[in-house]
Amino acid sequence: MENSIVKEKIVKDVLPKNADSITEEKIIRDLLPQKFGKWGKIWVGVLVAICLIGMFAYYRQLRYGLVVTSMRDYASWGIYISNFVFFVAISLVGSLITAVFRLAGVKWSTPLTRIAEVIAVAAIIFASIIIIVDMGSPERFYFLILYGRVQSPIIWDVIVITTYFFISILLLYYPLLPDIKILLRFKENTGKRLYKFYSFIGSFWKGSHKQYLLNKKAINVLCITIIPVAFSIHTVTSWLFATTYRPGWDSTNFGAYFIAGAFLVGAGAVVVAMYVFRKADHLEKYITEDHFEKMGRILVLLSLLYLYFNVNEFLTPYFKMKESESAYLNGLFIGDFAHIFWFAILAGMILPIIILLFKKGRKPLPVFIVGVMVVVGAWFKRYLIVTPTLLHPFLPMHDVPANYRHYFPSWEEWAITMGSLAGVCLVITVLTRIFPIIPIQETLNEQHEIAK
């Protein structure tokens, strides 16, 4: 009796409320990738334009060197590294939504898994690119591989990012196999080129029982593997800072602090993407208000967790106010960086908590707005982790030009950063044009489960 109640509840959670009325054919037609409409084309055009400006700025950086940036002796890491940390953070959502939820038996997350995986792949690609941009000459990356020492945190980062990228690709690919079979069936919707591409990557999938078992086993192994790797990637990113003895970075808390922040920004990105795809592709029957309600609750939990880590990270140093750290802390609380700091805390954590604690705040539009706040707040939070510390070294700055004491990104840095952000959006957009944004086969399976 108890089991049947549980099953009934799961089924209710999993499927759209009016699932009974949706036929299999209709589900497939609803979920097939759609061609860009007028607004879709404009969106892609704008993104491509921003990327091209970014590429021109990168050409200038290659041509004239890193001197075109505002990075100097002290602020040697600027928005490139902030952006890198942001991308790594956002990519962790793949492990949260896909792996953690899947292993925990959270069924309602099915329509969100592909969104999370696509975001993870796009973000990790640009995390890799932006770190090479930050190196200045790209051949340094080659030397890093050739002469790198396994003892160096930058090599750990290269290893874990490569690993995570590979796992993310596999985690996107394996669950796609059954959907590719469906895509091949609907040739008239796909077009010649895409049909060829689908045939190349998945024509071998026949949906046999043995294939299904192997696929299921592989997905489970991936879900188990991606969690420690995801934790490693962001812990190692935090260690790039924490292993350096500097005000604001000298913390044993950094690994957990970064991971909590990463899960928050990842979840924020997913709700933003959920809302956009729901509106753009008319997926209201599949991404329901209930999904926003549940993701809203998760966002509250993650915001509270991250706020708790922030209190730990800033309140105790503030209480002690060590002389060597006071300039850095005052800079954040009441100085040059105060407006960004309080914006990141308020918009990125406190306001989302207040809004999402109310049931009305967990409706699609408010959750979307909160998601945007979380993502924007998180970007600025990464900037605050990187730059203020570099501008407040333990040993005072002596005999340096005035512009070494401050950092404001040059237009080339802004252009490259915006280009990379546009690049992430472009990769997500292209992937959702090629692949179904909601797993079709899994949705059909759940439909059959209900029918039983």
Binding site: V150, L170, S208, V221, V229
Partner: protein, 292 residues
Amino acid sequence: MKSLNKILIGSLSIILVLSSYNGFSQAAEKGDLNVAVNYFITNNKVPQLMVKVNTKINGKFLNVGGINLKLFLDKDSTGTFIGNVITNEKGEATAYIPTSVKAEWATSSKHTFLATFDGNKKYAPARGDLTVAKAKILIDATSDKTVTASVFEMKDTTWTPVKGVDVVLAIRRMDADLTIDEKPTFTTDSTGKASGDFKRDSIPGDARGNITLVAKIVDNDQYGNLSIEKTVPWGNKFVPVNTFNERTLFATRNKAPVWILFIAYSIAVSVWGVLIMLVFNLFRIKKLGRDV
């Protein structure tokens, strides 16, 4: 009621106009600056000037940065111009005496240094000066560990020993100088010499046991600040023992502990082993698809 409003608005307008009229406000008083000039000569080489600028606000002296000062030798003219300096956040600025004033420098054994500030929006013009006599200091260390400093003053064209000058005999350390015994200063006798015994036998030196002795005259009204150094092998040999390379992952490639490398490589290999297995799994799925 309407007329009351008109009166109120009219009054407010008059108050606003009057309060914004500059003629009623007093021009802000400019602050006064104190300019102090200090003279340094190290190892009897090129003399250096250090200017320090501060101001008194609410009974406290505060250093003033960003003050542009002109430095002159003896008189405020083009031929005696030493240079322009700008004070840093500690209110300090330094300048070496350039060769362009060599002729003026040779004319006398006593000189006055002038530092002038022309004033700006915040501070009134200010100036400071310092008169010093040309002097030099020598240091000698004998095998019985006696340190002797000799002070001479330029009189006419000859160096003459000076009596009664306080000299610090010390050892250079990283942050400050440590006197060679408990006595803070030694006074020169009629031959211009001041001697002290070195009583810091156990002090660590460098890898060869070398330490640097220093003899210095500090803030003397006549001669300014003079110092001279000499290296002697009187310290304990200090060989740092560093186990860093034996215990840390950050050691150079071939010195990192094997067990740490083993763990690091094992993690990478096991994760990539799983991934390779999963890629292999794809080929199995592909093969099954062909067989169907």
